[in-house]
Structure formats: C-alpha cells, structure tokens
Symmetry: C2
Subunit: 709 residues, 2 copies
C-alpha cells in the first residue's frame, strides 16, 4: 500500500466517524430513540422528557463533556468494578501509546532516511509505507541500536504500568468488598459431587454432612434439581403468553378469528390460546411438584458468616477428592442453571472437548481469512477473475478494495465468533455466566490474535503455519521476515475496523433500525424495555488485539501509533458514554477481567521481543540480537512475580477482611432478615411459583414467574 | 557389542553378586560388624549377642527369608509410609516388567528372524546384539504391527497399574493419618512474611493477629530467630568437646601433654581445652540471651485442633498476598533451621537461581559422559592413544573396557550429584528437610535421565542436543535413529551399574572398611552408633532410570528385560533387608515420593510413544506411525486425570478426617499434656539450654544440648 491509499482510507473513515458522531448527537435527543440510546437512563427513570425545541435538531457535544467529567467513583456505583476495569483498559492503552508516540517520533525519521529499499525516486504520495518501517534501515547500521534501546525502555515502562494497574485494581477489589452490603454469594458455597448414599437423598446427605461437621456455622442448603424439561415447558408457556398479549392488544383485533391449525375450523384464537396456556401452566405446576425427586448431586450451602463459607470453600472436604468439591457460589442472578448433570469425570472430559472444538473452529476460520488476504494482493485477484481487470485498475476502487474491504469482511465473520465461544465455554461445566464469559473471553482472544494477526502474517497453508511453531528455533527469523511485511494491512485495519467499530458502537445502527421498525411498522411501542448488558467478554479481546498491534509494530512500523492512539481516545469517550447511558450490568465479576488484560499485554511484549531477536539477526546485528534474549526472560519473570503477588486476591478474599466484615455485621444486628433472604436466594427460577400473565425479564428468568415469594 | 561380550559382562557381574552376597551372609553374623550391618537393630536393642559357633562362619540365606516374610504392616511400623512407598516402587516395577517379559518373548524371535541387518553369516556368539532389536525387522514388514499392538497393550496395562497404585497409596496415607497419635505438626502452621509494624516486634505482631482473628483456636507461637552465629559457636564447642572426650579416654593419655599452639609452651592439653570449652559455652549462653532481639518474620503458630490449623493454612490470611503466608508445619525434627532471612521476593528469585544452577550443572556434566562414550568406541580410543593398541586388542581387556568400565566411571561421577542437588534445593527456601529432599529428588531425576539417557543417545555437542529439542517436529525421527543404536550400552549399564549398585548396597563396603579401621587401628570402638537414614531421594531416581530403560526399550530391544527384572528382584530383597536392619527414618513425608514415581513413569511411556512414532516412520509404516499419535495424548490425559483425582490427598488432609480426629481427641481427655508439649515443640535446637558434656545426636541437633527442658 502506498501513502496516498492510506490517506484515502483515513479520509473515508474520518468522514464516517464525523457522520456517525453528528447523527448520534442529534438522534439521541429524540425521545423516540431513548430505548436505543439511553435504555439505562429510561429504566432508572432518569430520562427527562423535554418538549420539542430547535436545540434538539442541532448536533452538540454535551454528551462528550458528560462522559469526560464522570468520576471513577460514579462509574463504580453505576457499572460496578467490571465497568471501571473496562475503562481502565482504555486508560492503560492511552498511557502506553502516548509514551510509545515519543519513540515513534524518534524512530520515524530514522527509518525514513535509511535506503535499504532504494525507492527514493518516487514522490512522497506514492511512497510505499514500507519506507517508514524498519525494513528501510540499512543492514548493520548503528542506528538499529536506537531500536534496540526503544525495545528495552518501552518494555520497562509497560511493566511498570502493568504492575501499578494490577496493584490498583486488586486494592479496588478489596475496597469494594469492604464497603459492600452483605451479599448472599459471600455467605454461600456450591458443593458438587455429593456422594451417593444408599437409602437417603442427596439433600439429606448434604444436611447430614454439614450438621455433623459444621454445626455452628451451617444454616441451610438448596439442592439443585434437573429442570431442563421444566424449563422447556416454561419457555413454551412464555412464548404463548407473549403471543396472547399481542393478540389482546387493540391493533390485532381483526386477527382474533382464524384457524387454530391448518385444516381446523375457524375459532376465536384468543380463547383457543388461553385454553392452551392454561393447560401448559397446569403442566408446569404438576412438573414442579414432581421434580422433587430429580435431584442433582450439587447444592448451594449457606453459612452464618463469610468466613464460615470461606473455610468450607478452601479446606478440602471429602476423603475422595472427586466428592464434596466446593466452589465459590456466584451471585444468584449469575448462576448458569443448565450446568448440572455433569459429574467430575464428565466435566473433565468436556473441558478437553471444548478446547479441541475451539481449535477446530480457529482452523476452519482459515477460509475467510485467505479470501481477505487475496484482496490485499490485487494482482492475484486479477489473475483469478480476469473480467475484473478494468474495474480494479480504477485508482479509487483499488484503493478502497485494498484499504477497506479486507478488514470489513474479517469483521463480518468475527461477528459470529463470540456466540460460538460462549457456547463452547458453557459446555465446560462452569456454574456462572461470568465464568463462562471469562473463559469465552480467553477463547475469543486466542481466536482473534491467531486469525487476525498470525494468519495474516504467516499467509500460507495451515500446515505451514503449524510447522513454523513446531520449529522453535526458526520462529524469530520467520516472524522477522513476515511481520514487517504486513504493517500496511494492520495500519489499514486499525483505521477501518478500529475506528468504525467504535463509532458504530456509539451509533448502534442495528438497534436504531430495529427500534424504528418496531415503532413505526409493527406498532409495538409498548414492548418492555430491555437494558442490554455490556458483554465485556466480546469487547475486551478486540481492544487487546489493537494493543498487540501497537506493541509489536512499535519499532517495526511506528506509523501505526497515531492511528491507534486516536482509536483508544475515541473508545475511551464512546464507551464511557455507553456505560453511563446504555449498558447496565446484570452481575459483577468484581474485576476478574483484568488478569486477561495483563496476560495479553505480557504476551504482546514477548512477541515483540521475539520479532526483535529475529529482526536484528536479519539486519546483521548478531550482538543486538543476542542482547535481546534476556528481555523476554525478564518479562516472563516479571509476569510470574505479578501472578504470585496479585492473582490470589482475584481468587478469594483474605481472612482478615472476611472476619472484620463478619464482626461488623454481627454488631449491626441486621443479620436475621438477611439470613431469611439467604435461605431462598439460590432457588432455581424454574421452580418459583408462576403467575399466568407476567412479563419476561431477560434471558434466564422465564416470563411466567413474575413475582418471587 | 556382540553377544559374547554381553555374556562376559553378565558372567563377571553374577560372580561379583554371588561374592558380595556370600560375604555379606557371613560378615553380618560377626558381632563386630553389627554397627555396619544392623545399626538399626543395635539401636533398638534387638540385636542378640551370640557366642562364637561354627554357624557364624557359614554363608546362609536366612536374611533373605526374613526380608521376604516381613509383611507390609511391619514395614509400615518400622519405616513409616515412606519405606512402604519405596518398596512399592520395586513391586510396581516387578509387576510391570514381568508383564513386559511376555511381550519380550513374543518380540525377540520376530526381531531375530528379520534380515534387515543381513549379518546372518556370523555365528551366534559373535552375533551383534542388534539382531535382537527392532532394527533387524524388515522395513514395511507387517510384523511391525505386533510391535504396534505391544505399545498399546503395554501402555494400557501400565496406566492401570499406576492408577491402582496411586489409589492404594493415597488411601494408605489417609489410613496412617487416621490411626496416628496427635502429632505437633498437625496442630501447627508456619507463618511467613509477618509484616513490619512500627513499635512492636514480630512476636507481638503474631500474638495480636491471631488473638484478634482466631481467639478460640489459637494457643501460642514460637518466633523464629536468626541463629546462624549461635549455630557456628555451638558447632565449635561441639567439636572441642568431642576432642576432649577422646583425649580423656585411656588410649590417649600419652598425648595429654603437647603444644596448644605451634610455638607455645608445652601445657596439659586437657586442661587447656577444658578452659577453652568453658569459654565457648559461656559465649553460647551469652549469645542465647542476646538473640531475643534478632527476630525473623516467621513463626510457628499452634492451634487447639488440627482443623483450626488447617483453616489458617488454607484460607489466605493477609490483604497483601506476600504477607501472612501460611505453610504446613513440618515435623519438628524435619525443620530446616537455616532457612530464614529469605523474604517472599528473595525466595522467588532464589528459586530461579537454583533452577539455572541445576541446568548449568547438568550441562557441565557433559565432559565425563563424553569420556565414557569414547570407551564404547574402542577404535576411536586407539586413534587417540596409539600406545594402547596392543592392550586393547586382547579380547578380554576390550570386552571389559566396552562392557564394564564406562558405566563404572559414570557411576563414580554420579556419586557427587545428590549432595550438589541437595545444596541447590536448600537455597530455594524450603522449610523442611523432607521438602528439600523431594525437590532434590526431582533435580537428580532430571539430571540422571538427561545425562545417562539423552546424552548417551544423542552423542554430539551440547548445542546439537539442544537443537534436537528446539525442532519439535524432528524429535521422533532423531530419537528413532539414535535410541535403538544405544541398546547395547544400556543393557551393559543395567548388568554392571544396576546389579553392582544393589549388591554393594547390601555389602556396604565403605562402611565396613571404615568400621574396621575405627575399631582395629584407631581403637574407637566406643563411638556413638549412628543409624543412617535411608536417603530415598538419591535412590529413587536410580530405580526410575532403570524403569525408563525398560519402558523405552521394551519393543526396541526386548533383550534388556530379563536383566532388568533380575535387577528389580535383587533390589526388592536387598532394600527390604536394609530397611529392616540398617536404615531408620528420622522423619516421614507420609508417602509424598509416590507422585515422582508416577510422573516419571508417565514420562517414560510418552518417550516410548514418541520413539515409536519415529521408528514406524523410519520403517516405512506411516499408518502405524499416525495411529501411534493418539497414544501419548491419551496417556497425558490419563495423567491429568490422576493428578486431579489423587494429588489433593498428597497436599493436605480433608476436613472430614481432621474434624473426626479432633473430636476423638477431645473426648479422650488427654489433650492437656499434649498442648504443653505443643508450646515448646518448635523451639530452635540452638536455643535450648546447653550441658557441657553431652553427646552429638545427628546432623542438626548440636552436641551440647543433651537434654531438653
């Protein structure tokens, strides 16, 4: 790609961004779009209904100011620690790449004045972007020592930042815990692998075990039951009652009479469905009474104190390590109810099945990526499809195709990855949605880095790519040849995918269109408002991917840095706004996403070092190459230290905090009411008494159980 | 090596074994040798003094009968679970290789009738051993499918055995715990990383922390102090008092007058030394009173119940994970006192330093191994030292040199490895000797397998060997070429090193000679009897190495199997005898060595599979090579399952057992006396009051503190 093509791409995308931002600033002020642009505020009753005035039609930047001014404390109270951690990824990236920009400014002219590529007969607009990269520095030039120093200084700075962020977030985690109200999941433990005893049920088994060994702290337990059949029935009844609700509404009166079945006689459909619904509800009630026998060897056990629960959680309970396994209980709304049935051995097998399936998925994705790759090499495309020759020769078309289309296609395919990974993670037997999301986040990250970075870099057959990683010794040199060559593609990727992603996140085009259709065409303005959750697991890998680009290309092609920095600044403002107005957390993992960010950054750094080792080797600087080797080793040691220093705080709370909180609670005297709540908190929603005409409330809670007893 | 050379080696070694066994059976009956052959029985007062009779001069096999008839319960009561586990390694190996022998009998003729090597013009005695190995099977022959099946069936059988052994030993661990008397280390926890608080000492810090958070279970604590200076003083005093004791004994009377220093006047040496000793003892006492201030941020904290200690052990205590770290307390006699001073960060650094030093040591050992290698290639030796040509041409000499000398030299060098590895492990900051020994055991195992197996197989430069493992893809084919070629060397190694080791273990030549010198020449018959400890950590890696040979060569060169089986049978009888009569355990890790055996066997199996993949590739059987790949994967999955299923039981005892034992104790009413003992159990021996003329009692406890208050 030449400089002018890059500028075209940048131009298009600046235009798109400005367009999206302007449209957003106008559309958000229209009351009809409140359910798209501020569902959270509407749900919280904070949305002010204003009369029509001219201001509503003028674009304004007030939302930017609002997003900017919100303090971290406000964000914490609104979006939980997960929201704060999410925003800190942007802050961290902005810090890292602002610092990197200093090096970029030093390195760009050094790269440019080299003449390894000997293309200086061209004028600047036609200059290949490669002349700004390390490839242009002469072999064996002493200037490469500047690149060498940059790698060391930058790594040191990033490690310092990583350490202080990790420290900050882990202290924040403890602070959140210390200031929290009593929460049921701190007082409970999930027990799995309850052993089969002849003559007594699992529930009695649990009762006996804990009254025997923990008589002073044990309160009660809720045994988990196999409710898959019940869930199916409830979901059917749910659908039916929704349909009935629509029919009863005024606009559907004309449809009231119709055929109940294809060949049946005409009946009053409302009566027909009401009858059917009643049957279903009766069925559900019967199933609910029958289900008592269908116990699963798992139970939520509640204790009088947090420390009491922590003891059961941390000390191994049973003589057989596959029995009486304890896990921290998730928040009740975070429990993934269909998790049961899997035994210790099954879960162990399913884990490897999921990993294998994930690898297969990653490999299968190779097809679309090859397609994308071919678009950046127009000459190849011309040989394949000769009839396109005329069109492809048009400068603008060719620039759009090489600069814009590839990343758009990649993005489209990637859209289907998060749901697939969530599905894979959910079969692994995690007990909480937040655990599933965390595991899926790792899978998506692996997928994204492999398929966007490595496959593009090592274009070639899957087998060739696998071979590269099997010959450990050759990895640096192979990467050193391949990675700088793809700098152009990744710069374009940042500008197109990165910027577009962010502005379309703000603009929410699909929600907007769907809301418009619903209101104007289907006339269902009174549908229940659904406040979306932020789905950090699918957003974090994308941010980290851009971090990877920045870190690996820092000294290879520093031209990528300004575009990245703009991307992160945009993201910072946009996502702050979205967290304040759109997304509302359903459950909080209390900052457990940060270790993913940490690990990914360490991976990026080590990858950068490996490429550096290769590059200095290629550039005939064996000394620099050799002196580079301690850097990844030190980085990994640093990572190991951080893991030992901070990870324990992300796994469980220390006894000191638990006992202090427990004593505060005991002295406050408000615990009796809480204990009552505790006893019923972990009841499967499918087993709650049902009311025939409730309203659905999210994915998990079925429609019909509108009230909890 | 040809068959007749092998037979020569076997002949020599059978002769040596018979000689050693006969000598042993006679010498053990001489009362003068009791301190060499039955120190344990003497110490326990079980040694019967018999009068002289003819029977004492006749070889007999009564000890074999005794060793054979001892039941596992007896062994458990005599040598603890570690002894039982040690003997089960032999039982396990005998089972595995008896089963392997069946395959060996099938494979030997199959290998022999092949004619890939076309050397059938030679007669049987001159037949190279290679004609019994897989190298002799024709390329692409369908007979190789028999080898293929053997790999699968054998792996399945070994995995089944591994599982049942792991299960048996972990149940034994629990059984031992359940039947044990109250032991101080079950009621105590070592706390490290006590934070510095201004104004109060570490001891007060601990007191405050545990009375605040664990008022109901905390009893007391013993703070660790920096006693290195004191230990030096005590050891000096120890030496001096030993010397004094010798002088005072009758045989030294003539030496009483001498020069105290080189130029000093003649004095009564006893008086002189007595004066000096008094000064030293005074010094020690003064130092002991001074030392109160030299606290180390570590303490042994005791609790009222085992479960109370387990809670503190398993629940993280402090907000900062580098502070208030808890570790299971070792038995008091197992504590490695010089461990202090190292902080969290220092220990973390020292761990990597030790690993790096271990790797350096392994690489440096390459020199001796190359020397050994050259001995098996006589022609090379002849070119280096032409004057040896005459001697080397003598058949017997050349056979001894190729068959016997190499392994003898290797063995000599290996003698210094265990102390070196113990030293490396001890700087890693382990708190107990048993932990150091376990860590050293892994290091020695790594060392032994690398230097005996891989270096011999991949003869070539260190760099070449490292390269082999960096190109993952080529490992199978490189090993497949190299490993079968060294079959002869390893068969000889088993016969020489293996058999000789075992019989010299029985004969204890050095102890015997030393005891003779002491009694007859130095006249120190009344020296205190020292019962040696078994040092399993240095013996287990040797046994596992032979297991590795057997498993990897099972289908390559089955001729190794009978020699191995003899080796294990000899070892079984000899070590049982030694555990009964010679060694006495000072502390018991309660079977923690078994996971090492398990992991090493899994490693051997996977190595065998990798070689098989390579071999079938070389033998033009790509299908068999491909179908071999699932086997290592399944083996590793099996290993992973075993780790999850059994390892938790080797780390800590489950709550169920702890609480039951606690309740039994509480109801027995004997705990008050035990609590008193508990309070002083973990006092540094250097701080115990000293008596001037005590007697030294092992490595750690210094001479002078003969009695404990």
């Amino acid at each position: 790609m030449i400089l002018s093509a890059l500028l075209t791409t940048v131009g298009i995308n600046i235009g798109l961004c400005v367009l999206f931002f302007t449209l957003y600033s106008v559309l958000r002020k229209q009351p009809g779009n409140a359910s798209v642009y501020a569902p959270r505020l509407v749900a919280e009753g904070k949305m002010l209904r204003s009369d029509f005035n001219l201001e509503r039609l003028l674009p304004s930047a007030s939302w930017v100011k609002k997003a900017w001014q919100t303090s971290e404390e406000e964000l914490l109270s609104l979006s939980g620690l997960d929201g704060v951690v999410f925003m800190r990824i942007f802050e961290f990236s902005i810090k890292v790449f602002s610092f990197a920009m200093i090096f970029g400014i030093i390195l760009l002219p050094i790269n440019y004045v080299g003449n390894q590529l000997t293309m200086d007969y061209m004028d600047l607009p036609n200059k290949s972007l490669e002349s700004f990269s390390i490839s242009n520095v002469n072999d064996g030039s002493n200037r490469l020592w500047i690149h060498f120093s940059v790698a060391y200084i930058f790594t040191g700075f990033v490690c310092y930042l990583l350490y202080s962020e990790f420290k900050y977030i882990s202290s924040k985690r403890i602070a959140c815990f210390n200031s929290s109200e009593p929460k049921v999941h701190h007082f409970s433990v999930l027990v799995r692998g309850i052993p089969v005893s002849s003559g007594i049920s699992f529930s009695e088994s649990v009762e006996n075990f804990f009254t025997l060994y923990y008589p002073s702290t044990y309160i009660s337990h809720v045994i988990v039951r196999r409710t898959s059949k019940l869930q199916k029935l409830i979901s059917d009844a749910d659908d039916l009652s929704k349909r009935l609700l629509q029919m009863k509404s005024a606009s559907y009166t004309q449809q009231r009479v119709g055929r109940a079945s294809f060949l049946g006689r005409k009946v009053d459909l409302v009566d027909h469905y009401e009858k059917k619904l009643e049957d279903l509800v009766e069925n559900v009630r019967m199933e609910q009474t029958l289900i008592t026998g269908q116990e699963v060897p798992a139970a939520f056990v509640s204790f009088k104190s947090r420390f009491g629960a922590a003891i059961v959680l941390h000390v191994k309970q049973g003589i057989n390590p596959t029995e009486w396994n304890t896990e921290a209980a998730p928040e009740p709304q975070d429990v993934y109810w269909p998790f049961f049935s899997a035994s210790f051995t099954q879960r162990w097998i399913l884990k490897y099945v999921a990993i294998a399936a994930c690898i297969v998925l990653v490999v299968l994705f190779f097809g679309p990526v090859v397609l994308v790759q071919s678009l950046t090499h127009l000459d190849q495309l011309e040989t394949w499809f000769p009839f396109l020759k005329g069109i492809l020769r048009v400068t603008f078309v060719s620039q759009v195709i090489t600069g814009y289309l590839p990343s758009l296609i990649l993005q489209l395919f990637q859209h289907y990855v998060p749901p697939a990974m969530i599905m894979l993670s959910s079969i692994q037997g995690y007990i909480a949605r937040s655990h599933i999301e965390k595991s899926a986040c790792y899978k998506i990250l692996f997928f994204t880095i492999w398929n966007v970075f490595f496959v593009n870099v090592l274009s070639g057959s899957v087998l060739y790519q696998a071979n590269v990683f099997l010959e450990l010794k050759n990895i640096p040199s192979v990467l050193a040849v391949a990675v700088p060559g793809q700098a152009e593609f990744f710069i374009a990727y940042v500008v197109t995918t990165g910027w577009t992603n962010t502005s379309s996140e703000l603009f929410q085009m699909f929600s907007l269109i769907w809301s418009f259709i619903k209101r104007k065409i289907l006339g269902r303005a009174d549908d229940k408002l659904v406040v979306p959750s932020a789905n950090y697991f699918s957003k974090i890998p994308k941010i980290l991917l851009f971090g990877l680009f920045g870190i690996t290309y820092l000294f290879l092609a520093p031209l990528i840095l300004p575009f990245l920095l703009i991307h992160f600044c945009l993201g910072y403002i946009v996502y702050r706004n979205q967290l304040l107005t759109v997304y509302s957390p359903k459950y909080d993992s209390n900052g457990k996403f940060w270790p993913i960010v940490h690990n990914s950054t360490i991976f990026s750094l080590v990858l950068m070092h490996i490429i550096a080792i290769g590059i200095f080797g290629l550039k005939k600087m064996p000394l620099a190459s050799g002196f580079m080797i301690p850097l990844p080793v030190m980085t990994l040691l640093f990572n190991n230290y951080c893991q030992r220093r901070f990870i324990p705080l992300f796994k469980s709370y220390p006894a000191e905090c638990l006992i202090k909180k427990d004593r505060d609670d005991q002295s406050s005297g408000t615990m009796d009411a809480f204990y009552e709540r505790l006893a019923t908190a972990y009841r499967d929603p499918a087993l709650a008494p049902i009311h025939t005409l409730g309203i659905s409330d999210g994915r998990n809670a079925p429609l019909l159980q509108a009230t909890e007893v």
